[in-house]
Each structure stands twice: as structure tokens, then as C-alpha cells.
């Protein structure tokens, strides 16, 4: 099988051709230290600031609100801990949803080890927080920060960010919005105080994250400060990577409306067809209010790792939240929090340009693979 259909865009989107071009050009001209005062440095500085302006515009921020980090995970760590640090006098309570990316939950765990408190708000069977319950949690007087993703990275369900943002504003609590799964694919919802995203998920290179902090939001870096990136992110900026990230975001945003509806129709097809051609399957997440490119399902009585291996052999790159396929022995905390089947789990996330023919081939081979794995396990 020479042909591989890459269906793991939620892990990382392949480098956009325009990002590749920009990266190669910027390596040649944007290598110098943007903080220095000679010709090459001024050129690097100019490239960096142009990229910052473009990224800010695409995400609905002001350029001086945007800092670049070394990853989406680092953006979340710095964003969560820096906002908590800035609000220390108000209180030390953190509210998150139970289905946030592990980077949010790991930052919350560190905050708790430091003596802070954290509350995770549960989700329904579709993976969505109830805005009323989230609002109640945020209303606690010592709440320093709330965190909510735009869309869930494993099941695609959109979160009620606008409603939660309004509640946070009423309570004077800053809201960190993790837009990693939707930046470049959907408009960023309004109302955030801190916004995080990751360039490699929108077709940029690895090694670039975005941390935007709204004017007026109290923020103090959790790490030792230096002069870079408005004292929010220490270390020498990855100018070529940032330039390429901005090029990818520009290109993705320009095609987003069209590509969004095309990929969403392919996801609809997978959501509707899989339960018809594979018995005992649960398709997970919200069928309508969802990210355009993500669909997840679990096959009863099937070992997730076996299914991933078979799909790999058949030429499909997908991922899974089943425990046997992860580095830990626990299944995905997202699937656990939703209360849905964790074994036999497959996440399909379509990159830009994924074709209907590839999706059809996936739907054609899946039933036989599942049947064989069940048969081998003695399921009749």
C-alpha cells in the first residue's frame, strides 16, 4: 500500500506549501537577533513584527497583545500560570472544564501543588460543559482564572465560549480560551482575556505557539523574565518559524470558509455511514455544533491498538483515545469525562485537501477490519 491517507490533522496539520516557502525564505533573511540594531537584525525584527501583526489580525487581537511561544503547550502553561500569578491578590482558585487539553490540566495540577485550588467542571455525553454550571463555578469570589477550549481536540464538540465569556466578564474573572483546534479553521469567539493556539495545527511549522493577553488583563510571567516577547515568554524568538506560521495562518484563513464546509460534509458522511456499515459502534461528540474536521467513534469489543495497526497497514493515519494506544494505562480523560466507550476508539481528523475518494476508501475498508478483529477476539 503506497498511498497513505493522512487523517490526523488534530495532532498536526501537514506544513502548508506557503508556510514552507516562507520558512525557507525567512531562514535566509530572518536569522539575526531581532533585538539588535544592525541591518540584519532590523530585517529580522521587521519580519517578526509583520508576522505578529498578521497573526494578531487573523485571531482578533492587537499586535502588542500577541507573544510567540515555542509551542501551544508552552502557550497554555505560561498563559494559565502567568494569569494566576497576576491575579494572586484576588484569589488562587482556577476553574477549567474536565475535557481541556492535558496542558491545561497539567498547569492546574502544578497550581494545586503550589497551594492553589482547582475545580474541573464536568461535561455531558456530547462532551460539552453546561454554561450554567460553569458560571456557578466561576462565581466563587476567589476565582482567579477560568479556562475553556473552543473545540475539544478528541471529539470536536464546540464549547459555549461566548456564553461562558459573558459570565466571566460579569464576575470580573479573566477567561483563557484554548483555540488550538479551531484557529485558522473557524473565527475565534469573542470575549477571551487570554488566547492560546499552536501553529503546527493550522499548517505552520512545529515550534511556534501563540499567547495573546488582552490589554488590561493582569499577567505576570511564572518563569524568570527576560526582555523578549513583552516579558511573557523567555528566550530567543524563532523568527523563521513565526514568519512561516503567519504565512500558513493567512493561507488557511483565506480558504477556511470553503474548506470548512467541504470537510464538514465529509465528516457528516463518516458520522452517518460508520454506524450503518459497522455494527455496535458509538459515534461520539456533537453531530452539528462541532469543529469541521474531527470525528470520533468507538467500536464495541474492539482493541483500539489492533484497529489502529490494521488501519495503518491499510494506509490510514488516524489516532485513538483508547488506553492501550496511549503512553499511560488510563484511557483518554476526555472519553472518561463524557462517559462514552473508551475502547475501540478511532479519531479521524481531516487535513486541508482531504479528498472524498480517501474518505470513501476508509469507509469501504473499515467494516472488514473491525469484523476480523472481533472474530479474532472470539466475539460472534
Amino acid at each position: 500500500m503506497g498511498l497513505v491517507a493522512y487523517f490526523d490533522a488534530a495532532s498536526t496539520e501537514p506544513l502548508h506549501p506557503q508556510a514552507r516557502e516562507a520558512l525557507l525564505a525567512a531562514i535566509d533573511v530572518g536569522w539575526a537577533d531581532p533585538a539588535r540594531l544592525y541591518n540584519q537584525a532590523r530585517r529580522a525584527h521587521l519580519l517578526l513584527e509583520q508576522a505578529r501583526t498578521e497573526v494578531a489580525e487573523a485571531l482578533g487581537a492587537r499586535p502588542d497583545e500577541v507573544s510567540f511561544t515555542s509551542s501551544g503547550t508552552q502557550a497554555v502553561h505560561l498563559g494559565v500560570l502567568g494569569t494566576l500569578q497576576g491575579r494572586r491578590r484576588v484569589g488562587r482558585h482556577l476553574v477549567t472544564s474536565a475535557v481541556e487539553h492535558s496542558s491545561v490540566l497539567h498547569a492546574a495540577a502544578l497550581h494545586e501543588r503550589d497551594g492553589g485550588t482547582a475545580e474541573t467542571v464536568g461535561v455531558d455525553l456530547l462532551g460539552r460543559v453546561d454554561p450554567a454550571v460553569f458560571t456557578e463555578a466561576v462565581a466563587r469570589p476567589d476565582t482567579a482564572l477560568a479556562c475553556l477550549q473552543t473545540a475539544n481536540h478528541e471529539v470536536g464538540t464546540l464549547q459555549p465560549v461566548a456564553e461562558v465569556a459573558a459570565a466571566c466578564r460579569r464576575n470580573g474573572v479573566p477567561l483563557l480560551v484554548d483555540a488550538a483546534q479551531t484557529a485558522g479553521r473557524m473565527p475565534v469567539p469573542a470575549g477571551w482575556s487570554v488566547l492560546t493556539a499552536s501553529a503546527h495545527k493550522w499548517g505552520g511549522p512545529p515550534g511556534v505557539g501563540v499567547l495573546a493577553v488582552r490589554k488590561g488583563t493582569r499577567f505576570r510571567s511564572y518563569l524568570p523574565e527576560d526582555e523578549r516577547e513583552r516579558k511573557r515568554v523567555p528566550g530567543f524568538e524563532n523568527v523563521p518559524g513565526i514568519v512561516a506560521a503567519a504565512a500558513a495562518l493567512r493561507a488557511m484563513t483565506a480558504e477556511a470558509a470553503q474548506e470548512r464546509s467541504r470537510l464538514s460534509a465529509l465528516v457528516d458522511k463518516i458520522r452517518q455511514t460508520v454506524p450503518k456499515v459497522v455494527p455496535d459502534v458509538e459515534v461520539i461528540g456533537d453531530p452539528v455544533e462541532r469543529a469541521p474536521h474531527i470525528v470520533t467513534f468507538s467500536c464495541l469489543y474492539v482493541d483500539g491498538e489492533a484497529l489502529l495497526t490494521e488501519l495503518d497497514k491499510a494506509g490510514f493515519a488516524v489516532s485513538s483515545g483508547s488506553s492501550c494506544t496511549a503512553s499511560t494505562l488510563r484511557p483518554s480523560h476526555v472519553l472518561e469525562a463524557m462517559g462514552v466507550l473508551t475502547h475501540g476508539n478511532v479519531r479521524v481528523s481531516l487535513p486541508r485537501g482531504a479528498s472524498a475518494a480517501e474518505v470513501d476508501r476508509f469507509l469501504a475498508v473499515l467494516p472488514e477490519l473491525v469484523r476480523r478483529i472481533r472474530q479474532d477476539a472470539g466475539v460472534t
Binding site: L300, V302, C324, G339, L341, H343, G344, A377, G378
Partner: protein, 81 residues
């Protein structure tokens, strides 16, 4: 009393990884009478989510999950049909 019925059958899936505990449960639930309770013993943390999810999908009733002193859980399921 209905919620504390003694299990009519115990499925010992200790040491087995999901989906094996679910496969064993599906095989054996028809060995008990209607409304009887099957106890699944499992120590794979996935079973704590997957047994209740299986009940929801298969319209049986998840009665409760109880931690075992030696580690793992006893997950009680009532046969509905």
C-alpha cells in the same frame, strides 16, 4: 432492596485489559435470569467507564461500581431483557 441485590454471577476479569472485560460481560449476561445482577471484577481503569457505557448502549442497567479492597472494582450490572 432492588439496588443492593446480591450478584447472581461474578465475571472475574481481573488482570484483563479492555475490551476483554466487556466481551466477557456480553457473553455471560444471558446466563442469569432477567433482573438478576452480574458483578464484573476488573482492574483496568477503562472498565469503570466502559461497563456503564456498554450498559447505556445495550439498554442494561449499571447498578453501581464499588472499589475492591485488593484493588480494582466490582461493577454491578442488572440484566434488563
Amino acid at each position: 432492596m432492588t439496588e443492593t441485590t446480591q450478584p447472581a454471577l461474578t465475571v472475574d476479569a481481573l488482570g484483563k485489559k479492555c475490551p476483554i472485560p466487556i466481551i466477557m460481560l456480553a457473553e455471560q449476561i444471558n446466563h442469569v435470569p432477567l433482573n438478576a445482577v452480574v458483578a464484573v471484577l476488573a482492574d483496568d481503569p477503562a472498565a469503570v467507564t466502559d461497563v456503564p457505557a456498554w450498559c447505556r448502549l445495550k439498554s442494561h442497567r449499571h447498578v453501581g461500581s464499588y472499589e475492591l479492597p485488593e484493588g480494582g472494582w466490582a461493577i454491578h450490572v442488572r440484566r434488563n431483557y
